[in-house]
Symmetry: C2
Subunit: 335 residues, 2 copies
């Protein structure tokens, strides 16, 4: 018989159907094309091809560059002068629509076409995380933007179209209902019980030590109790902090360290799986609030979201998070 | 500049980023392996291999069978004698968990391994839809089951593991938060404005006739205003009806007719695309309520849900629904 577990922070449920369980080797990435070139002539993100991107927003590094942030050439949302908070909202019959005001940026993580995030030096990873924070802070000053989402798509199953290593950032002109619900559930938990639901989870996980994957001074990486997919990982600051904008340089360096360690573990155990990660944070105008707690959610793309998941919003997972945590930790010494 | 549209029934937003637009031919299914065998020796759903499935729950047809419904051999949820409505809920530290009580069934749509739903005769499609209703009605009598989701995964990108044509049904022991939110939003719309949000949408769409794809006496198929993916289609009864259990034989026959027509259009225009469809219905104990309206949601799998979609719950779509409706209608005469 399967087990159903609730995500305490969102009240979503995951079904753990273990009879369908696979061994770690069954999840290993197949058919990954090995990229052996450091430079590709028509890649807009390779060193030397800077003229192929829109005008640079941020550069880190001297003697050429280590990180470049540029507007997405095919932006989902775009800035507009003289935009208002109403963002051109209007009715169309019974419907509501608005202009696509916002910002869509690409963080080019390295000049090298074939340098995977999981294999970066710690200095390179720090540059990536510092650039996230710099752009987040900069865009937070624009009152038209209500939410800033930083995300990473790795591999074709995760939705990447360009293979050169890059993250993305989208600033939206409102907080979408999905995010508002998560904030609301965390707020309600706080109202009921008087503490942050993420702090509560963290305390229990550290105490039980069944699902912890690794930790450093600032953060913990663990496999969430109601993980939606195998090897789902949450990386979360130990200290309560609602918004990513509050992270100081020390915490950012620790974030780079734990993100690198965790991605390397996935790389070793699952042989460079496709994955997404997202920085899930309260909006910047809720920085300092007591009920939310920013974190990074890593979601390997090892299976396909099908009709049941789409229709119910629930997930069917085939591996318990405690088993994923164990496999990742056991492997650590062998790599 | 892109356009952002709200789904009036869920209050979710979709970004239409048309600069990334593709022509219909760019979406055409590639690499579909042509299945030429009517019978495959180790396929549990082929005629003659009935012993490979768990005990049959329903059979339609004489002289052999046309439709078989059987329990899923690797069920996500399973029935349990003596289960209670609490479903074995218990706390695990701060978390909530429960036993995986429910039902997971497979509707084998045809004895023939290579008969696609889009190419069925109307009688065959009617059998499929009638079997949905029979199992839905039967399972609704079980008080342990709070929600019944009927869904169809077509093709590997839609999550199919067995290629023999089949639908699935999962009965869950509670209404998940995602579904509860949709019911709540529809209820709130009703409370505010005094009518069903789906009836309102339908009236507007029929009046405007910009996104209607086809219709018959009982139902309308249209491309929703805030379509989450290209060629997203909603099939909805013209008469207000909250729950699928209320559909009578006449409406079921019309449902089969419009589903067949719509799937054939997608098959012709996009060359047999991978897709999911889901029957989205109020739970059976809300049959007769004024605020919800059951419908079928068809979602072709033409692109990949990536980090932004996962983190925000919003979708980035590249084709306007009015263009999808036009392309589907124009093609109709040519097939």
């Amino acid at each position: 018989m399967s087990i159903i577990r609730q995500n305490i922070s969102t009240r979503d449920w995951t079904i753990f159907s273990l009879e369908r369980a696979k061994r770690p080797q069954d999840f290993k990435q197949k058919k990954r094309k090995k990229i052996d070139k450091e430079y590709v002539a028509d890649c807009p993100f390779c060193m030397g091809n800077e003229h192929l991107t829109p005008k640079e927003l941020l550069r880190i590094g001297e003697d050429g560059w280590d990180i470049r942030v540029v507007p997405n050439k095919f932006p989902a949302l775009e800035p507009k002068d003289g935009a208002t908070l109403q963002g051109g909202r209007q009715m169309a019959g019974p419907y509501l629509c608005m202009e696509g005001i916002g910002q869509h940026e690409v963080i080019v993580e390295t000049p090298l076409h074939n340098k995977s995030l999981a294999l970066m030096d710690i200095e390179e990873m720090e540059n990536v995380v510092f650039s996230y924070k710099q752009r987040y802070s900069q865009l937070s000053k624009n009152e038209d933007y209500q939410l800033i989402i930083i995300f990473r798509n790795h591999g074709s199953k995760a939705g990447t179209s360009l293979e050169h290593p890059h993250s993305q950032l989208i600033a939206t002109p409102f907080v979408p209902g999905y995010v508002r619900n998560r904030l609301f559930e965390a707020q309600r938990y706080y109202d009921d019980l008087g503490h942050c639901v993420y702090c509560e989870m963290l305390k229990y996980e550290i105490d039980k030590d069944k699902r912890i994957i690794c930790q450093n001074d600032g953060l913990v990486a663990f496999a969430p109790y109601a993980s939606v997919v195998p090897y789902n990982i949450m990386i979360i600051p130990k200290m309560h902090q609602s918004c990513f904008i509050q992270a100081d340089n020390e915490l950012l360096a620790d974030t780079a360290d734990i993100l690198k360690t965790t991605l390397k573990m996935l790389y070793d155990v699952l042989e460079d799986p496709d994955y997404n990660y997202i920085i899930d944070s309260a909006p910047a105008d809720k920085a300092g609030e007591k009920h939310y707690h920013w974190h990074i959610e890593i979601l390997p793309r090892l299976n396909t979201r099908a009709g049941f998941e789409i229709g119910s919003g629930m997930y069917i997972n085939t591996v318990l998070p405690e088993d994923c945590a164990r496999v990742l930790k056991e492997n650590k010494g062998h790599s």
